[in-house]
Every structure is written in structure tokens, then in C-alpha cells.
């Protein structure tokens, strides 16, 4: 998992600090949702615009990261019609794949291929996977962000990884 930025503690972080700490992860999360750079930039800006206006209302500053992720997810759902066709992937195939081999394959692949594989899978799996891999959120934070039980997060991550690994093999 990527290193998480330092936990934000009192006093409240200023806007510039939050941008510097989180904008790269937030952009990558946006890209995984919208699958193209211009829309990802727009979505990132929209998210930080909301933070500029409402971030002062966040009482627990350790929640800034998950607040940004949750806000971005909501902005995404608000602004886009997302029911696009996703490549269907045989999950059963992934079950037979080897994690060690996949790790080696991932290390040698281009980052854009990894991002495309993630961006191509259905929302149900893509959202928790993006929050897990890009934002580095814990299961509990993902559950709060997606408003689903933590057990559902775990099962979607588990099944999502199978779908993802199969997609990596396809790509």
C-alpha cells in the first residue's frame, strides 16, 4: 500500500497543505472513476473546491482524506451517467492465477495499463479497490465512505481483486 500522508491533527490544516498532501491520490482516484485526464482534472478541482468551501466544517481533521474521497465519489455520481459497458471477466479464471506471478507482472507493467485495468471493472468493485489501492483507506474508512458494512467491503475487495487480476491478464 502507498504510504499515507501524515495523520492530520489540530490545528486545522490549511487549504494549501491539504492540496499538497492529497491531490495526487485524489487525481488518481478520479482517473480510476472517469477514465480520462480532462474529466479527472475537473473532478479533482470540483472536490477541492468543495473542500475550500466546506472543509472548515470538518471537526475531526484525521478524516480529511476520507472526506475528500467520499466527496469525490458523490461528485462523480452527481455529474456522470456511469452505466457504461464494462468488460466482463471470468472471475473463475482469476482463481486459478498465482498471486506471486501477478505481483511480478504488475511490477514490470506500465502504470497506465494498471490504471486502465482498474478503471475498466464495474463500479461495485472498482470503488472499494480504488479507495484501498490509491487512497490507502482502511476497511473501516472504505465502509464509511461507501456507506456499506465492513463485511461487504471485505468481500467486494476479495472478489474485486479476482476481477482485477483477470483484467490484468487480459490487458
Amino acid at each position: 500500500m502507498p504510504d499515507s500522508p501524515e495523520t492530520v491533527t489540530s490545528p486545522a490544516p490549511d487549504f494549501d497543505t491539504v492540496v499538497k498532501d492529497y491531490y495526487t491520490d485524489i487525481f488518481r482516484f478520479a482517473y480510476s472513476l472517469v477514465k480520462n485526464e480532462p474529466d479527472a482534472v475537473d473532478l479533482t478541482q470540483q472536490t477541492f473546491l468543495k473542500f475550500a468551501r466546506k472543509g472548515h466544517q470538518i471537526k475531526d481533521h484525521s478524516k480529511v482524506k476520507s472526506w475528500l474521497a467520499t466527496t469525490m465519489k458523490r461528485e462523480f455520481y452527481n455529474s456522470l451517467r456511469r452505466e457504461k459497458a464494462h468488460p466482463s471477466v471470468e472471475i473463475e479464471e482469476a482463481d486459478r492465477l498465482d498471486y506471486a506471478e501477478d505481483s511480478k507482472a504488475v511490477q514490470s507493467m506500465d502504470a497506465s495499463l494498471a490504471m486502465d485495468a482498474l478503471a475498466g471493472i464495474e463500479d461495485k468493485f472498482r470503488l472499494p479497490l480504488s479507495l484501498f489501492y490509491i487512497q490507502g483507506l482502511t476497511y473501516k474508512e472504505i465502509a464509511e465512505s461507501l456507506e456499506i458494512p465492513i463485511g461487504t467491503v471485505m468481500s467486494r475487495l476479495s472478489r474485486g481483486k479476482d476481477v482485477l487480476r483477470a483484467a490484468l491478464h487480459v490487458s
Partner: protein, 234 residues
Amino acid sequence: MSPDDTPSPQEQEFDRAFAAKLAEFPVPADLEAKLLALGKTVLPAEDAEPQLAEIIRPSAFKRYWPLAAAATVALVLGVGSLIIPSPVEFPAIAEQADMGAIYRDHMAHFANERFFLDAMTDSASEAQASLRESGAPVFASVPAGLQPLGMMGCKSIDWNGGRVGLVCFTREDGEIVHLFIADKSGFAEADLASLTSLETSRGLQTGGWSDGEYVFMLVGSEPGIEVAEYLPAV
């Protein structure tokens, strides 16, 4: 990984490798500068409402604050009864009624009326304390969909022989989203199913859900105010 155990070392290695690969995904070179510039042009939304003891219809607070101030003056002058809104009265409830539909209709009716809030606060704990003190139902924590919004205040409402809690949230554009909270015991299980549909009631968009012992209903403050985005994810 299975829901019951921790990921295997091989799976953790894959996780690290994939996360590291995604972290290599290029970010536009000018994005940071754009975002930093954004912060210099946007002022935070106001979070400090005027400290009036009572307030007029929250859905139009910004437009009606002079009236609220006038009400305060009128109280001092002893003519408050001319300005203070009367308690909201609900239509009669027919026997065998679908209480889910009635709840939706009556809360939309209430949101269209003028009323005072019991407490003006942006603090969830203060709203909880106020509602509990008056015997009204209240959430254990602010529903996730509403957390990005500001809180304006709360009110306890007499309805159908019991109490309903109302918490008002403010959107970025200043409009209000009403969250009504009723005790689930007053509803038949069959009546809860229809709550989740988004419907326009009395000109306002409404949508609800039940959770634990409570039944929640969101109502916009004006026609066109959509509440779908504040509902729990299905």
C-alpha cells in the same frame, strides 16, 4: 483474502505491488498549481448563523432573516402573536392508511410551512441533546450522505400522537435539506417498502429509508431541490 481472515503474504505482496504501480500513474504537471490557485479564489461558506434564539422557516432562512429579526423585536414589543407562526397542523390520518405514504406527505407538508427551530446549532451532539430532551427520535450519528452538508438546527414535532425529530442541513447554495426522524414502531413493515422511492410530495422531492428503530425522510426545501444524493447508498 476472505472476509474471515487476513490476506495471505502473497496477496499482500500483490497489494503492495499494485498500489505502488498506481502511484506511478502520472499526474498533470499543472494540477497542483491549479488547485492552489482555486483555494485563493474561494471563500469558505459562512458557518456562523446569526445567534437568534428562534428562527423562521429554515428553508428560506437567508431570505427571511429580516422577518426573524422583526419577530424578535415584535416579541419585545408584545405583539409577537402577529408574527410568530402558528403550530403546524397535520391533516387527519385515515384508519388503515399506508403510514409510509402519510409520513412522506405530512413531512413535506411541514417543510412547506413556517416554523421556529427549537435550537440553532451546527453541532450534531447539541442537536442530539436537544431532540432527546424533548423526547424526539434522533440519529446516533449524522447519516453519511448528509455529512458533507452543514447543520443548521433542529426541532421536535408533534405528529400522530408521538414525536418526530427534524434536523435541518444547509447546502452549499444556501438551500435547506430537512431530515425527519420518526419511531419505526408506528409503521407496519409493509408500509416501509415504499419509503425508499424518490417522489415529489407537495411540490418537494422526498425520499426515505428505515434503519434500526427509526424511519428517516429527507425533504427538499424548495421545488427542484433534489435529495437523492443524500440518501444512503443501496
